[in-house]
């Protein structure tokens, strides 16, 4: 009797948790569905090649916003990747006593800071002294967001490289720094690239810090010291406007943005599949 009751409870809880999992997945399907449904109809060649048109006039595209996002990602990577990878190596290899612990702690702190606060920081130390909004300021803000992710991922992966590899290289008389650069890093390369792709996926969609750094631009950017358009900024501006044509373009932009993000995540996964399957 009691056994049947317990088995019943088991079934109920199994179904409830399964239901929870389903409920969680449901919004994703709804959102993606809407994106594809609304956005695909507005996607055409114009969207990818044309600049925005003046208020109220139909047509135009988000070409500058797409290029702008790629530019900002490139800039952020130039600033964030070297610092992140070198810092990650430091955390994994250093024999210092207290600094690594502090850096690790602060990296986690930085990871949790809302991106809008990082935007305020970038505004105060880049935009104000330079007296202008610029792609540089936007790239800086995104680099700060990207830094902790790259840092921690690199640290983890460098640690995972077997000590025997290092010991073998050192036994051959290779200096320590060459061991790290030529033996350890290449071994960890695939995983580090995953970390990079994950951080790129994260910063591609960031809007808040760009509001007062990159500022937005209705034209092609004229160099890195000028304001620049970005896909999430444009989507935001169009979404809250009343014009139906802009709404359609916002959906299309959102679709393009999601495709970019998913693609980079997917590629990262494929590149590292099989290499670290036992270690995840």
């Amino acid at each position: 009797m009691r056994a049947r009751f317990r088995r019943g409870v088991n079934t109920v809880m199994e179904s409830l948790t399964a239901f929870a999992a389903l409920l969680v997945v449901l919004p994703l399907i709804l959102i993606l569905g809407f994106l594809v449904y609304q956005g695909a109809s507005a996607l055409n060649l114009d969207f990818f090649t044309q600049l925005p048109k003046p208020v109220g006039e139909p047509g135009g595209g988000m070409a500058n916003a797409i290029v702008g996002t790629l530019t900002l990602i490139g800039l952020a990577s130039c600033l964030g990747l070297p610092l992140g990878i070198l810092g990650g190596i430091y955390l994994a290899e250093s024999r210092d006593r207290r600094l690594p612990w502090m850096v690790r702690f602060l990296a986690d702190v930085l990871n949790g800071v809302p991106s809008i606060v990082i935007g305020i920081f970038a505004y105060t130390i880049v935009v104000l002294p330079m007296r202008r909004f610029s792609a540089l300021a936007g790239g800086f803000a995104l680099a700060v967001i990207m830094l902790p992710i790259v840092l921690r991922t690199t640290e983890e992966l460098v640690r995972l490289v077997p000590a025997s590899l290092r010991e073998a290289a050192l036994a051959l008389g290779i200096p320590e720094w060459k061991v790290i650069l030529r033996v350890v890093l290449p071994t960890a390369r695939a995983g580090i690239i995953t970390g990079v792709m994950v951080s790129v996926a994260r910063i591609a969609g960031e809007t808040a810090p760009l509001l007062f750094t990159a500022f937005g631009n209705r034209f092609w950017h004229q160099g890195l010291l000028q304001p620049i358009a970005a896909l999430p900024l444009q989507i935001f501006a169009y979404a809250i406007a009343p014009f139906d044509d802009w709404h359609r373009q916002a959906w299309a932009g959102a679709l393009v943005l999601i495709m970019m993000i998913f693609l980079s995540s997917l590629v990262a996964r494929i590149v590292t599949r099989g290499r670290y399957s036992g270690l995840r």
């Binding site: 048109k53 003046p54 208020v55 109220g56 290029v67 790629l70 530019t71 900002l72 990602i73 490139g74 800039l75 990577s77 130039c78 935009v127 104000l128 007296r131 202008r132 909004f133 792609a135 790239g139 695939a190 690239i193 792709m197 500022f215 937005g216 631009n217 209705r218 034209f219 092609w220 950017h221 004229q222 160099g223 890195l224 000028q226 304001p227 501006a237 809250i240 406007a241 009343p242 014009f243 590629v267 494929i270 590149v271 599949r273 099989g274």
Partner: protein, 359 residues
């Protein structure tokens, strides 16, 4: 199959290639780098006409591009004060305090006239009209339902639903807000004391929308909503632009003519810095909630090439630009005002020398 070694190698190569592409896309100058970029920010009120002007102007002078971000008049004032943009735009004139805190002398250059309308969203699209005290009390939160007897009193014969009124105001710093609350302060003592004037006020009730775009978007999608937007935003979104009773007691439709009539008196007594309020003017045909909108430029420009481009554009705007206003339901500047502005533009200098040669 997808994860076999040769495929992975290919993908890694593709990744490297993409990374290279991204970096070059960013670091290489854009294809049209020979042009000069002028950055401006501010009011959403004139954004429809400004975006038209900046688009047309690329044909007039292909060497300059004007990038304008409509972030609200508050933003325009702030950013030009910080000198992070080349020009600002506002429909709420800067206060003396704000002018004092700017690093240089700022000019207010009027560009067009516009009207702020009390747009709403009701089923069946009834044609309503409002009186000043009605508007003040709705926005004070004292009138909360559409079928309130005071509204029916002013709109005899119109069927009003038993629906709550959803007030929509601006969430950002706005010149449109300034025009609206300036008007309400003039027609309602209670509003003046309780809320007052400013580009950003402490609203008694309502939802906040970002920009004229946000407010019209919110009104359009919320049945029972009422908000204040520039006339162009209402018309372009098929939202009503109701009549309002003016100081002379007549119900006037917002239009180019009634906006122009509102400015008729101002032209005669225009202050030299052009900071004037046109709300609640005398005159039978005047629409009571109209205003100039201004571009904010420094008296002494810090960059000669940019200063030249700016004055040339301003000259074009107040003369040729005015012919685009009627399509977008803005009213052109009255001729005597244009003369005064011309004189002002001649006063814009670079290192003491006027940028525009005297004509």
């Amino acid at each position: 199959m997808w994860t076999s070694a040769p495929v992975r190698r290919m993908l890694r190569l593709a990744l490297l290639g993409l990374a290279g592409l991204v970096l070059t896309a960013g670091l290489a100058p854009s294809p049209v780098s020979a042009q000069m970029l002028m950055n401006g920010a501010g009011a959403t009120f004139p954004y429809p006409i400004y975006s038209k002007w900046f688009d047309e102007y690329t044909r007039v002078d292909p060497n300059v591009r004007f990038n304008y971000q409509s972030i609200g008049s508050g933003g325009g004032i702030r950013q030009i004060t910080e000198r992070t943009v080349d020009f600002g735009a506002t429909d709420g004139p800067m206060t003396d305090e704000q002018l004092k805190s700017a690093p240089g002398e700022l000019f207010h250059i009027p560009t067009v006239l516009g009207a702020v309308v009390a747009t709403y969203n009701l089923p069946g699209d009834p044609k309503l009209r409002f009186t000043p005290d009605l508007l003040a009390d709705i926005f004070l939160g004292k009138i909360t339902k559409w079928n309130d007897p005071r509204i029916s009193a002013v709109n005899p014969g119109v069927a009003l639903p038993d629906q709550p009124i959803v007030v929509v105001h601006r969430s950002d710093g706005s010149g449109t807000t300034y025009i609206w609350v300036d008007y309400l302060s003039k027609v309602s003592k209670e509003w003046e004391q309780k809320v007052g004037r400013g580009t950003s006020v402490n609203w008694p009730v309502g939802l906040g929308g970002k920009g004229n775009e946000g407010v019209s978007g919110q009104v359009k999608s919320t049945p029972g909503a009422i908000g204040y937007v520039e006339l162009a935003y209402a018309i372009k979104n098929n939202l009503p632009a109701p009549m309002v009773r003016n100081q002379a007691g007549k119900f006037v439709q917002p239009s180019i003519q009634s906006t122009t009539a509102a400015a008729a008196g101002a032209a005669k007594s225009m202050p030299s810095d052009f900071r004037v309020s046109l709300t609640n003017p005398p005159g039978d045909d005047a629409y009571p909630i109209a205003s100039f909108t201004w571009l904010l430029v420094y008296n002494d420009q810090s960059d000669q090439a940019k200063g030249q481009a700016l004055v040339k554009f301003l000259w074009w705007a107040i003369h040729d630009g005015e012919k685009y206003t009627s399509d977008l339901l803005y009213a052109p500047l009255p001729a005597p005002v244009v003369k005064l502005i011309e004189a002002k533009i001649h006063q814009i200098t670079f290192q003491g020398k006027p940028l525009l040669a005297a004509r």
